[in-house]
Assembly symmetry: C2
């Protein structure tokens, strides 16, 4: 197993960091690594906002509720960004077509994929340096507030944060669904054929949650998912995205 | 520079592969690496379809138009997948709430991010083994056809492909926008402050396109983007996604 595969297979989210800071060079390497990820037709439909201001971290913490959002060595905020494209138009005619185009679901998908590919490169780069990371999707708990805090213009939406720092705990690697439930060959495997693997995973997770080194509980993946999705969540993301002139048509 | 950073910074898309096949072990390691990527609240809202059937590759090639879609050692198709969650419901009441929840833009974003994070791990794993990769967003040229070919159920959408194989050419690394145009600190940098970096990039790309080893042309990033976005593209993605009961509310 090479060093890269070793890094990928050993990922665990880190939620507690020491006080040690990152160097400017480390941050630069992480962002440059993010930039080198593939991007749809070279559009580079994302922006990365480095959060260094502790007051801003505190405000973002209020949205997320996770203490690692205020206590970390560095935080990157990944945004889908089609503002640049919107501003490149140079005639009234192409401004109109470009704006119409940017309003499609296709372009929301492009921006979301571009941002995520870049982010995962940043995550891997950081982990290869001995740093820990955690994605922060909970910034979408109040996406409008995050948008205001970062002063995002039209066609830019905050997607998620990535907190980075030197690990101050050593959590277990969390098991994933068995490969046979997410990997298919040539066509989609009906749910009936996935069920046995989900059941096996529920048993594995019951044991994982019961035995892990901290925060033990009695739970399964199925029960978690049913609880999670039985409550309407972040329904305000829809009108927010539209207010940015994205995903409107 | 460690081996991981070296792999990340040396990414180029590979569009021509030798006839050499991948071993089952290589494919397994690539998919396991994908699975270990972060996922929103452990939802794992994606599926990966390995394409081994040459007839299917040929059909997907007709959608994409790129020869590397039919000529590659392996192809992975990444789908946003909330079908599993939809099928976990176990009462009429939670079926209704879960279905409503899955229809939100938030859940389309979750599935798209989850699929992209997994895909980028797969890409990095493959590149670390000396393989080349290329993302295939052009499968969305006819997303409905791809959906039919793969027999995807409701709540599953094809997002993009990833073709993999041993490189049979050695393209240059494509320059990216200067770091100062995509990296911001604490708040979004207005477009007026990004413009100088975009201009510098246009000059760099003019020289890159004029001097690269194959397919030289006279072009800039700005001109490319204006041309690309001045034509309405993939407007059928919007109704297709809704037909899958995603992004409907």
């Amino acid at each position: 197993m090479n060093q890269v595969i070793h890094t990928l297979l050993n990922h665990r989210s880190i939620r507690k960091f020491t006080d040690r800071k990152l160097s400017q060079e480390q941050i630069h390497t992480i962002v440059k690594s993010a930039q080198q990820a593939s991007t749809s037709s070279n559009v580079m439909a994302y922006s990365i906002i480095g959060v260094t201001d502790q007051n801003l971290k505190n405000e973002l913490y209020k949205v997320s509720g996770h203490t690692h959002v205020k206590n970390n060595a560095h935080m990157l905020l990944f945004c889908g960004d089609l503002h640049r494209i919107n501003r490149l138009a140079n005639t009234e005619d192409n401004q109109q077509t470009i704006d119409n185009n940017l309003e499609s679901t296709e372009q929301l998908i492009v921006a979301t994929i571009d941002a995520a590919l870049a982010a995962q490169n940043a995550a891997i780069a950081a982990e290869s340096m001995g740093l820990g990371i955690c994605y922060i999707g909970s910034l979408r708990n109040d996406i409008k507030r995050v948008n205001e805090l970062l002063e995002l213009p039209g066609h830019v939406i905050p997607l998620f944060g990535l907190v980075i720092g030197y690990p101050d705990h050593n959590p277990e690697i969390k098991p994933r669904l068995p490969i046979d439930s997410i990997y298919h060959e040539n066509k989609y495997k009906p749910f009936a054929e996935q069920e046995q693997f989900i059941e096996a995973y529920d048993n594995e997770m019951r044991s994982y949650y019961g035995n892990r080194s901290s925060n033990t509980k009695l739970d399964t993946w199925t029960d978690q998912m049913i609880r999670k999705f039985s409550t309407p969540t972040r329904m305000d993301v829809t009108p927010f995205v539209k207010s940015k002139n994205l995903n409107k048509r």
